[in-house]
């Protein structure tokens, strides 16, 4: 079990740059397209994202990953409960942004924790104007 966890984590660490490169590339292309083509297709929002990260390192790594990807940007962070506020350029809905960030968080926690990423919480959706349901 232990060995599997370690292997899992090593794989997580190794996959990180790949994911990052992918995110960087796709994000750059998407925002670059936005920039180079006329008109505006953005639908930005500031989204509160509760996290499963615990340590400062995890939170800041996640915040940085979000920021590194063109199209999303961490504006604020909170330690306890761990939360980031993400500016997202293409916000279909509150939930879509949450899913996007939590996907990143999954990959991050896989690399930082032996036990891997915990399951995502369910009741975090918010309404159109950000109000809690």
């Amino acid at each position: 079990m232990r060995a599997k966890n370690v292997l899992n984590r090593i794989l997580g660490i190794l996959w990180m740059p790949v994911y990052l490169a992918y995110d960087l590339l796709t994000g750059s292309l998407r925002v670059g397209w936005e920039i180079l083509t006329p008109g505006s297709r953005i639908s930005p929002a500031f989204v509160e994202v509760p996290l499963r990260c615990r340590s400062d390192f995890e939170i800041s790594m996640l915040a940085n990953l979000v920021s590194l990807t063109p199209g999303s940007l961490t504006v604020a962070a909170r330690q306890d409960p761990a939360t980031v506020w993400v500016y997202s350029m293409y916000t279909e809905s509150h939930g879509s942004t949450l899913r996007y960030v939590h996907g990143m968080e999954d990959r991050l926690l896989r690399a930082t924790r032996l036990e891997g990423a915990p399951p995502r919480p369910q009741d975090l959706e918010r309404g159109e104007r950000g109000q809690r349901r």
Binding site: I35, S43, P44, T69, P70
Partner: protein, 125 residues
């Protein structure tokens, strides 16, 4: 010209063009926050391509280490710098684009801030 040189040149040119795209974004995108995403292209993607191009052209263990170091630092710092700037803008009421759908950072029923934020813009004059 060797293939590695060509590959390196292409990578560098791509990086520089990505850089240019980010810069144009600085002109074209509607508000601070979206422009900062353009900056990310120039701060992370562009330099990354250029540095890799450099390594491709001058491959050595030392260079690999240094380029790797530079890459990591550049990515980390540009991300942190972008966040810091976004927060600074938010704190000082940088105007938000009309398209902004919602803002979870707004504290409702806050008398002091409610009138001023969001939508409040205080141009830097």
């Amino acid at each position: 010209m060797t293939p590695t040189q060509i590959a390196g040149d292409v990578l560098i040119l791509a990086g520089a063009l990505a850089f240019l795209v980010g810069a144009i974004g600085l002109l074209r995108l509607p508000d601070l926050y979206s422009r900062l995403n353009g900056v990310t292209i120039s701060g992370a993607f562009g330099p990354a391509l250029i540095l890799i191009g450099l390594l491709v052209q001058q491959p050595s263990v030392g260079n690999a280490l240094k380029v790797g170091l530079a890459l990591v630092i550049q990515l980390a710092t540009s991300a942190v710098g972008g966040s810091a700037m976004a927060r600074a803008g938010y704190l000082t009421g940088a105007p938000q684009a009309e398209e902004t759908r919602f803002d979870d950072l707004v504290v409702e029923l806050d008398e002091q801030a409610g009138k001023e934020h969001p939508g409040y813009s205080r141009p830097d004059t």
